[in-house]
Each structure stands twice: as C-alpha cells, then as structure tokens.
C-alpha cells in the first residue's frame, strides 16, 4: 500500500478510532467515578441509618433515666433498689443544693462496698462540684436548670466511664451509666453475619472504639488489616465518645460496576462507531480502486488509440515530406501547404509520443535506453523539426552549442523533452528569442534552454513536473502542456 494511502487510512480510520477509544475510556472512567461516588453515598447512607438507630437508642436510655430520676425519693432503700434492679445503673450519688453528699450516706457506714468504691472513683467529680459548675453555666447562677441533664465522661484506669446527671427539684442525681451494657445493646441492635443486609455487598461493616480497636463487625467478607475503609461515620455523641462506624468494601466491589458499565454502555457505542468507520473506509477504498481502475482503462484506451494513430501518421509525415521535396522549387503555394501538413503532422507525432510516454510512465514501464549520440546533433534535429512553427510564432533560436562529443544518452527522450520546452516557448514566449546552450565538462553534459517569456512563479516551479499540471486554465493558453 502506498504511503499516501496509508496516511489517508490513518487520517480517516485509525485516528478517529483512537480518538473514539480515548473518549470511550474517558467516558468509562467518568462513569466509574460517578458510580463509585454513588456507591460511597449509598454505603454512607446505610452507615448513617445505623448511626441514627444508635442515637435513637441513646435517646431512649436518656428518657428512661429521666423518667426514673424525676421525682425519685432519696430514701436509701429506694436508691439501693434502683441500682440493684436497673441494668443500666451501676451506682448513684445525690447532692443537695450546697453540693453536699446526700446519698450514699458515708457517716453511718450504711454504704455498701460497691457504693464506697463508686464514691472513691468519682470523688473528684462530686467533691469538687465539677458538675455544679457545668450546671451553673457561664453567668454563675446558682439556680437549678431542669433541662441541664447531660453526660459526664471520666477515666478510670484506661476505661471511659460515664455519668448521667440530672437535677430534680433541689437535688442533683449522678448516675453511673453502665456503658458496657449500652455497648452490648448497640451491638445487639446491629445486624449480624447472617442477618446482614444485601447492601453490604461482600464488604464488612465495623464498629470501632475511640482507640481504633474493632469492637464489632459483620458482613460476609474477612476484614483485611491492610484495607482502608471505604466510608466512615463518627459517633461523637455520648456515651459513645469517638466511636466510628466503618464500611470496608472489598477491592472488586467498586470495580465490578465499572466493567459492567463499560461493557453495557460505552463499549457498544464505541464498537458501533468503529465498525461504521471501518465500513466507510472499506467503501471509500473500493470506490478509489474502482476509479483508479477506470482511469487506467481510459489511459489504456488512449494508449491503444495513440498506437493506432501513430502508424498512419508516420506514413502521412513521410509522404508529406517526400511531397515537399518533390514540390521544392516548383510551386511555392503547394510547397507551403505541404509544409503546413508536415509541421502539423510532426506536432501530432510529438503529442502522440508524449501520450505514449505518459502511458508507459503510468504503467511504470518508462525506461531510459541509452546509446552513443551527440547532444548537439539531437538539439539541431529537434530545432529543425520546430523551425517552421517557431518561425511562425516569431521565435528566433540563439544557438551556443559546445557538446560535440559523443555521449551515452537516450536521444529520443532528450529530443522529446527539448521538444516540449520548445513547444512551450512557441506558445508562451512568442515573438521573443530562445537561447539554447550546451556544455560538456567533467563528464557532464549540460543543455540549457532559456526563453524570454513571463517565466514560472517560484511557488509553482515544483509542480510543473506533475502530469497535466497547468499554470493557467485559460482556454486561450496552450493546449499541450505536460
């Protein structure tokens, strides 16, 4: 295949296909990004659903504690029974308005061992009245605020403990909330490995504590320690300080929808366009081949016609020249007419020779047949053939011939080329001289033909050697340009 055809094929087919593939990949990547975002949002929403469930559980426990403490009598028996029977209350202290400990009563030694230990570990809270300061607010007011119930966090060893405090009348109740039990309730509320919903989709949901340790996890996959969470939702509210819900998607979950999308949306479109382009390319290739074949057939036809014309024309020329010799010095008028016949038949012979040369060139059969000859003789013979037409056009040849040595040259081809040039001179530089100069030096023979016509523009010089190229398409210009 010719380079130009390759170039055209690349331009028309390969480049568009490459562009389509590139755009297809870009589109797929964009779609994949959108899908990943949608998946992340989906997982995030599910984690938020779990979070809302946990927050609802917190509110339920707060409401239960509020209901218990509202109007709670301070008799030791009642408070003792409360801690004994309520699974969320580990211990209670009660302070009066002055911050004095009302319960447990340490003075009479009525407090049990558990209550003593509770008072010891919370001494920094109730004895220094930290909670009071929180309740009093920034303006230092000493009035109780019935809405000022809330959570208080403290550390015992490495463990977070939580107090729920609530003013009730002139008293302040501080309840040590069983956080471990609450964590168990949270886990109880979350799905387990067998009841996990389908949105988990092969991933793992993890409940993580404030130390980033896994407390609970569910889902069909095994959690890899090197995997990064896909999405995370913090649980900042007490009593779960700093806990997090995480979703770990398996590596292939976010990739699978991408390949599906490419398969079902992008690939068919791109494939269709590529197929269309290929079909178009095949169509145009066949069309071009057909035109080339037809052109070749036309050239062959002209070639055959030219061949057929060549023989009778040669006879016409030969007998016209014989007749011209016979009529010499007898009848000027007849001689002139015969001269015209000779001249026109020579022109016709050159045209046919040019057509045949072009046809051979098209068939790549044009070859140079070198033989010993004298260049100056070839020039003179050609000039003799053109003498009548040049004289009619008012062109006077100026000869400066110095190539008298015999060289190996295709005399016919040289004569044909010189004839073409002289034909151009006849047509485009009429009424002006034409210079023909030959030189031989260093084994190189040079033939220079210079007319005094309008010349060839610089931009068109490279194209004058192309077949059928004409500088002007005006009908009045020459008609045999090659």
């Amino acid at each position: 295949m010719k380079p130009r055809l390759w170039f055209s094929f690349s331009l028309l087919v390969v480049l568009p296909i490459a562009a389509l593939c590139f755009l297809g990949v870009e589109l797929a990547q964009d779609e994949a990004t959108v899908l990943r975002t949608q998946y992340r949002n989906l997982f995030l929403e599910h984690l938020r659903t779990y979070k809302r469930g946990i927050e609802e559980l917190v509110r339920t426990r707060e409401s239960e504690l509020d209901a218990l403490l509202r109007g709670m009598p301070t008799e030791p028996e009642t408070l003792h029974a409360l801690t004994r029977e309520n699974g969320y209350i580990e211990a209670i202290f009660v302070l009066d308005e002055q911050g004095r400990l009302v319960y447990p009563d340490l003075k009479v030694g009525a407090a049990g061992e558990e209550e003593r230990r509770f008072l010891e570990r919370t001494a920094n809270i109730w004895s220094k009245r930290d909670i009071w300061f929180r309740l009093q607010g920034a303006d230092g007011q000493t009035e109780f605020d019935s809405k000022a119930a809330g959570w208080y966090k403290y550390y015992w060893g490495n463990e977070i403990r939580t107090l729920y405090f609530r003013p009730a009348g002139a008293l302040l109740f501080g309840v040590e909330f069983n956080r471990i039990r609450f964590l168990a309730d949270v886990i109880g509320q979350l799905p387990d490995q067998l009841t996990s919903d389908t949105v988990v989709d092969g991933g793992v949901v993890v409940l993580q504590d404030d130390n980033r340790d896994v407390i609970y996890q569910w889902g069909p996959a095994t959690l890899s320690p090197h995997l990064q969470p896909t999405v995370a939702v913090p649980l900042l509210n007490p009593p779960l300080y700093g806990w997090r819900l995480l979703y770990y998607a398996p590596p292939n979950v976010l990739e699978r929808p991408i390949s599906d999308s490419v398969l079902f949306s992008v690939v068919p479109g791109v494939a269709f366009l590529i197929l269309t382009l290929v079909l178009l390319a095949v169509y145009f290739y066949r069309e071009q081949n057909r035109e080339l074949r037809e052109a070749s057939q036309r050239v062959n036809f002209v070639n055959q016609v030219s061949h057929e014309l060549k023989t009778p024309l040669t006879n016409i020329r030969m007998y016209a020249e014989l007749l011209e010799d016979e009529l010499a010095d007898t009848d000027d008028r007849a001689e002139r007419y015969v001269g015209i016949i000779v001249s026109e038949s020579q022109r016709l012979s050159r045209l046919i020779a040019n057509i045949l040369s072009f046809a051979r060139h098209q068939r790549e059969q044009l070859s140079v047949r070198k033989a010993p000859a004298v260049v100056d003789d070839v020039v003179r013979q050609t000039l003799d053939q053109f003498a009548p037409s040049l004289a009619a056009a008012g062109v006077s040849p100026q000869l400066d011939l110095s190539a008298g040595a015999t060289v190996r040259v295709d005399a016919d081809a040289l004569g044909q080329m010189l004839g073409n040039l002289l034909s151009n001179v006849e047509k485009y530089a009429a009424g002006r001289p034409v210079d023909l100069m030959t030189r031989q030096a260093g084994g190189v023979t040079t033939l220079t033909v210079r007319d005094h016509g309008p010349g060839i523009p610089k931009a068109a010089r490279a194209k004058v050697f192309e077949p059928f190229h004409r500088l002007s398409n005006a009908l009045s210009d020459g008609v045999t340009g090659t």
């Binding site: 699974g87 009525a110 471990i180 168990a184 886990i187 387990d192």
Partner: protein, 345 residues
C-alpha cells in the same frame, strides 16, 4: 353484638373457674440459724459465730416442676475449636436439646471474628430445625466474645417472658481477642444482664480457656462455671448445667439480717470490726432445689445478757421466682435463746 359480648364474658369466667392459676411458688424457702462455735468474750464485747442456713425444699401438696427455660447456647467457633472440640460441642448440644422439654425455648449464637445467630429462638419441639442449625456450625477466625454475649443477650431479651428463666450458656476454649475482654468489664456486663433477668453459665473447653474470665462471668451472672478437659466431656457438663437450670428455685436471693438493740453483726469474711452494722445484706445468688446455702456471720454485742424471748436476728430473704418472674420475700425471726445454745449472752 351484645349477646356475643355476654357469651365471651361467660366463657372467660368458666375458663377462670375450671383452670385455676398455678400456685405462685410451690417450693418452700426455709431459713435456719445455728451456732458455729461457742460464745467468745472479747475485750470490749461479746461475739458469737452464727450461720444462717437457706434451703429450698419441695413443698407438700404439689410440685410445680422445673421452670420453663429461655435458653441461649453461645458457642465459640474460633479457629481453635476446629476439629474435635467442635464435634464434641455438636454432640453435647444434641444431648442438651434432647434433655430439654418441648415447650422450652432455645437459640444458638456462634461467635468467631464475627457473630452469627445460627438458630433464632424456637421451641425445642422444632428438633429438625435445631439439628440443621447445629450442623451448620463451623470453626475459623478470632474470638469476639463480647459481641457474642451482646447478641446472645439480645436474642434472649427479645423473647424473654417473666414466666421463663432466661439463661445464657457460654462455651469457649480460648481468650477473647476482639472487643472488651477483661474480666472486670465483662463482669459488669454480666451483672447488668443479671439485673435484666438474664443469667450466665460458662463452660471452658480444654486447657487454654480464660478461666478467670469464665469464673467471673458465671459468678456475676448468677450461674455456674464448668471445665471440660476433653471434647468428650462437654456433653456431661452441658447436661449438668441443664439439670441445674431445671432445679433453679430462686433467683438473686438476697439475705438481709436485722439485729436487735445494742447488737451488731459482721460477715465472717469482713476484714475488720468496722464493718459491723445493725443490719447486714448478703447477695446469695441462685438457689437450687435440694441444695442448701450458708451465710456465716459474727454476732457482736456489748451487753452481758439477753432478755429471754427477745429478738436476736430478723432474717429477710428476697428473691425472684423463676416461674413467675415476680419478687417474693421470706422472713424469719430468731429469738433468744437459740435452740442448741447453752450458754447465755
């Protein structure tokens, strides 16, 4: 409409007459008091070591039968249970199921790195379903004991009924490595669950289980702790636990001792006399039919003589009836002189 309502009321009345409600508690809690040693005279006071005996006996005129159970088997299926321990566990579970009554409720929760409710609470009469669930037990992964306890408790709580004894039987052969795992933390969870009416018993398998944790869970959970040295031994201990649950007669038994004027008491285990008080409260735990519990204490007083016929100790026992879920109380007054004591206060 009117006739129908009247008919409904009549039917309800007839049923109420024909099917009288079961006695609240047909077993009898008895409290007794005896001296452990002769009277001792200290520097400033007098002391007598005494012992309260608590026994649960079958009452005359009726046997209520064992309490109905709401039971959850919490099975460790971590990698260390692979092979013989898991096979032994399956055999033991089948034996326990065969031991239970058709109207008992049972569920099975397994825990490894994750937790799975392989059998939601069902009546024991659904034996085929239970068998199929037991067959699905497979081992592998870590030990999320805390999450397992949480899930097991949740299953029990969802199907808890005041007339059923809710109990969790934990079986494990290893140390927990996911979630809270200290005996203190899990003990607090166990205490809390106990308050919600869920007891815990533990079975340690092999020789690598966390004995301290298992003991603490059973102690705080009002249950029992067992050790099965071999997989073949699991069946016998799990059956012992089921029998113990059948014998449960009183839950969370708490004994309060109120002493008379100028008299104080202190527990034998107390470290100093400062713990002496006019009233003592002792958490005894679960009482089983036919098995007596004892609480020893020192009676202290600074007077030389008691008035004959005066109150020496008032013993009050409070507990939850496992058949009804209701709190009940038994009270006994002990007067001077005690039978069997010769020498005077």
């Amino acid at each position: 409409m009117h006739r129908f309502s009247i008919g409904k009321c009549a039917l309800f009345f007839l049923l109420a007459v024909w099917f009288p409600s079961a006695p609240a508690f047909a077993n009898q809690v008895e409290l007794s008091l005896k001296t452990l040693a002769p009277f001792r005279s200290l520097e400033k006071e007098q002391a007598l070591p005494l012992e309260i005996g608590i026994s649960l006996t079958q009452a005359e005129g009726g046997h209520p039968g064992p309490p109905r159970l709401n039971l959850c088997f919490l099975i460790d299926t971590s990698a260390s249970m692979e092979g013989a321990p898991l096979l032994g566990t399956k055999v033991a579970l089948r034996a326990a199921i065969a031991q239970l009554r058709p109207d008992d409720v049972v569920c099975i929760v397994s825990f490894s790195s994750m937790v799975a409710t392989i059998l939601p609470p069902v009546l024991v009469k659904e034996r085929v379903r239970i068998e199929q669930a037991i067959d699905t037990l497979t081992a592998g992964g870590g030990t999320a004991l805390f999450a397992g306890l949480a899930k097991g408790a949740e299953q029990l709580r969802r199907h808890a009924h005041e007339e059923r004894l809710s109990h969790l039987v934990l079986l494990s052969d290893s140390h927990a490595d996911i979630g809270p795992n200290s005996p203190a933390q899990l003990g607090r969870l166990s205490v809390s669950l106990r308050k919600s009416g869920i007891g815990i018993s533990t079975i340690g398998v092999g020789d690598s289980f966390n004995a301290e944790l298992m003991l603490e869970l059973a102690r705080t959970g009002g249950g029992r702790s067992y050790a099965a040295a071999t997989p073949e031994g699991i069946a016998s201990v799990i059956q012992s636990e089921v029998e113990a649950l059948f014998r449960t007669g009183a839950i969370d038994f708490e004994l309060t001792l109120n002493f008379g004027d100028s008299t104080f008491g202190s527990l034998v285990a107390a470290e100093s006399a400062a713990a002496a008080s006019s009233a003592l409260t002792v958490a005894v735990g679960t009482l089983q039919v036919g098995k007596a519990e004892k609480v020893g204490f020192l009676l202290r007083r600074d007077q030389k003589h008691f008035e004959p016929g005066g109150v020496l100790v008032e013993a009050i026992g409070t507990f939850r009836n496992p058949r009804t879920g209701r709190l009940e109380e038994v009270k006994t007054m002990f007067h001077y002189p005690l039978s069997g004591t010769t020498e005077p206060f």
